[in-house]
């Protein structure tokens, strides 16, 4: 199923741990519940109800797919279902990450067209 290289592990570890969260929190916003989902083999905690594209973005996973002809990296761009650049696999179905909501236990794979 998944071959997770050490390099990839460190890439994600770096991104997750060196960045201060982009989520506004504290006394400004309360997010009711967190759940666990799997992104490219790694378990990540995310608030229930968040847009999946935003969860990926906040975790520093900016490249979501590759363009069809030149295989260039692409990611979140319009966030409203128009540009079709945030395609990912959720539970093995191709979906727009900006139209999906975080749910418990979903399995996300990035890198379509790689």
């Amino acid at each position: 199923m998944f071959k997770v290289s050490i390099k990839k592990f460190f890439k994600y570890w770096d991104k997750i741990n060196t960045k201060q969260s982009l989520r506004v929190s504290g006394n400004r916003v309360v997010r009711k519940g967190y759940t666990t989902l799997t992104i490219d083999g790694f378990e990540i905690k995310a608030p229930v109800g968040e847009i999946l594209a935003v969860t990926l973005f906040v975790n520093g996973i900016l490249t979501l797919k590759y363009s069809s002809r030149k295989k260039e990296p692409r990611g979140l761009f319009c966030l409203m279902g128009s540009c079709q650049e945030c395609l990912v696999l959720v539970n093995d179905r191709i979906v727009l990450a900006c139209q999906e909501i975080v749910e418990e236990g979903i399995i996300i794979k990035t890198g379509i067209n790689k």
Binding site: R23, K32, E50, I51, K70, L76, F77, S82, R93
Partner: protein, 485 residues
């Protein structure tokens, strides 16, 4: 409001596409007059992009609730207390000329026939390409507002905010208010452009005051504003975006001389060059369109009462021309009343009285909106930033050089260009690149009218094949009896 199953209904008086401010107003007023109304939106609740609702699970503190949040809550309540039938999380992917609306939702495909149709699908964001605009981490200003307002997420640790218009200030202010850092603001408009637009802004002093307080926040935070500058290049170096900017001279061209080039840095570039009306549905229906830069670009031709050139089809909100969320409400109400009037559900006397007061408010709000349009209308100098090695069509990876080559070889309108280069042929249906490609072609053939528009095609948005098929197992396939031997 009742949530419905699309398979339970076949015929209605009115379908409203889009549950933003215009759609909600139109649906509500039509339903009050007794029409059987269905409103359809791909999001899970009303508000459109401007008043997009945060998830139910997120609770902002009272002091952190924006005016847009409050207004959105108000509109969602209006819809909730109405008799409108709502289809949220449903996407319209086609509409036939006899007004059969094809819908795809969580439970697969469905369709319904309507006597009239109000299109309130709003606007799209124009982002004119420059080298590096496809880099992950470069996002739209509109996307940034969704991050900030509905997700309570900052676009970056240090964001460069670029482009033009009210969204530029709204995003910068939103980041500051949320405790984030704006590394620089790159504004296409110079100070004098803002001053020129200001008299119109006086038509809504309350909003002018709000805008000025946003400006004050930006000044207080000590953010460097590059007025009259354009982004010309973005390169990613070790998770940092190095963004080149260049000044625009008074003759309206970007000075590309490296002497004037400056570089700003950030981990996110939020950029947008204004909004333009969404015409994908009206193009498919073959409605007449006109190009009007003061309305944001191509708009469907409408009469004073918001009827399109197609009988039974009405347009409301920013889809009739950009003028903002306040005027969208009146546009929606007028379109809604006209639709029920045409269905003979409202007396002409009542119609005349009601429409008059709406028009007065519309005029005031539209005046305010027009100031915003002046600040974000298409600027032809931006074509200079599309170098020949720049990808213009993101879906099909079509370079500027390929587009120029096709024009050189004789492509004279948008559809020819599409057929020759595949630009606009990808899954976004040209929504992302049409403005840039039309502008490039128009600069060669003389005008936007001569360049024309891409023919509207279905599906408006890609539909996964499994949704078309729906729930099925191999047992559902009828096996014909074997022929006798």
């Amino acid at each position: 409001m009742t949530k419905i199953n699309p398979n339970d209904i076949q015929n209605v008086d009115l379908v409203v596409l889009g549950a933003g401010p215009a759609g909600v107003a139109a649906a509500n007023v039509a339903s009050q007059e007794g029409a059987d109304v269905v409103i359809i939106d791909e999001n899970s609740s009303a508000g459109g992009q401007i008043y997009r609702a945060p998830p139910n699970e997120f609770k902002p503190h009272d002091s952190f609730k924006s005016d847009e949040y409050q207004e959105g809550e108000k509109q969602r309540k209006i819809l909730k207390n109405s008799n409108v039938k709502a289809l949220f999380k449903h996407r319209v992917w086609s509409i036939s000329s006899d007004l059969v609306v094809s819908i795809v939702g969580p439970n697969g495909l469905s369709s319904l026939h309507t006597r009239s149709l109000i299109i309130a699908n709003g606007a799209l964001e124009r982002i004119i390409p420059f080298p590096g605009w496809t880099t992950p981490g470069v996002i739209g200003l509109a996307a940034s507002t969704i991050l900030l307002k509905s997700q309570f997420v900052l676009p970056g640790q240090s964001t460069v905010v670029a482009g033009c218009g009210p969204l530029l200030i709204a995003v910068a202010n939103g980041i500051i208010k949320s405790g984030g850092k704006v590394s620089a603001i790159i504004d296409l408009n110079s100070k004098s452009d803002w001053i020129k637009a200001s008299p119109r802004l006086l038509s809504r002093p309350d909003q002018l005051f709000k805008g000025m307080s946003w400006f004050a926040n930006i000044m207080k935070a000590g953010i460097k504003i590059y007025g009259g500058h354009a982004v010309t290049n973005t390169k990613q170096v070790d998770n940092v975006l190095k963004i080149s900017i260049a000044p625009i001279n008074s003759a309206g061209s970007i000075i590309l001389d490296s002497k004037y080039k400056k570089i700003v840095e950030g981990d996110c570039l939020a950029i947008g060059h204004g909004l333009f009306p969404s015409t994908e549905i009206t193009r498919l229906l073959k409605a007449k369109h006109i190009y009007d830069p003061h309305k944001g670009g191509w708009v469907p031709l409408i009469d004073d009462d918001f009827r399109s050139s197609i009988p039974g089809v009405y347009i409301a909100g920013d889809a009739t021309g950009i003028s903002g969320a306040f005027s969208a409400v009146q546009k929606g109400r007028i379109a809604g009343m006209t639709a029920v009037r045409d269905l003979n559900l409202m007396s002409s006397k009542k119609y005349k009285v009601k429409i008059k007061s709406e028009r007065t408010t519309l005029k005031k709000n539209e005046n305010f909106g027009k100031a915003a349009v002046i600040l974000m209308k298409f600027r032809s100098e931006l074509i200079q930033t599309i170098t020949s090695e720049t990808i213009v069509c993101r879906c099909e990876d079509v370079y500027r050089s390929e587009i120029d080559e096709a024009i050189e070889s004789g492509a004279r309108d948008m559809n020819q260009l599409k057929a020759w280069t595949r630009c606009g042929m990808g899954p976004c249906q040209g929504r992302t690149c049409s403005e840039a490609i039309e502008a490039i072609l128009a600069s060669k053939v003389g005008s936007r009218e001569l360049a024309g528009q891409w023919t509207g095609r279905t599906p408006f948005r890609p539909i996964p094949i499994d949704q078309i098929i729906g729930e099925y197992s191999y047992d559902d396939i009828p096996i014909p009896k074997a022929a006798p031997l």
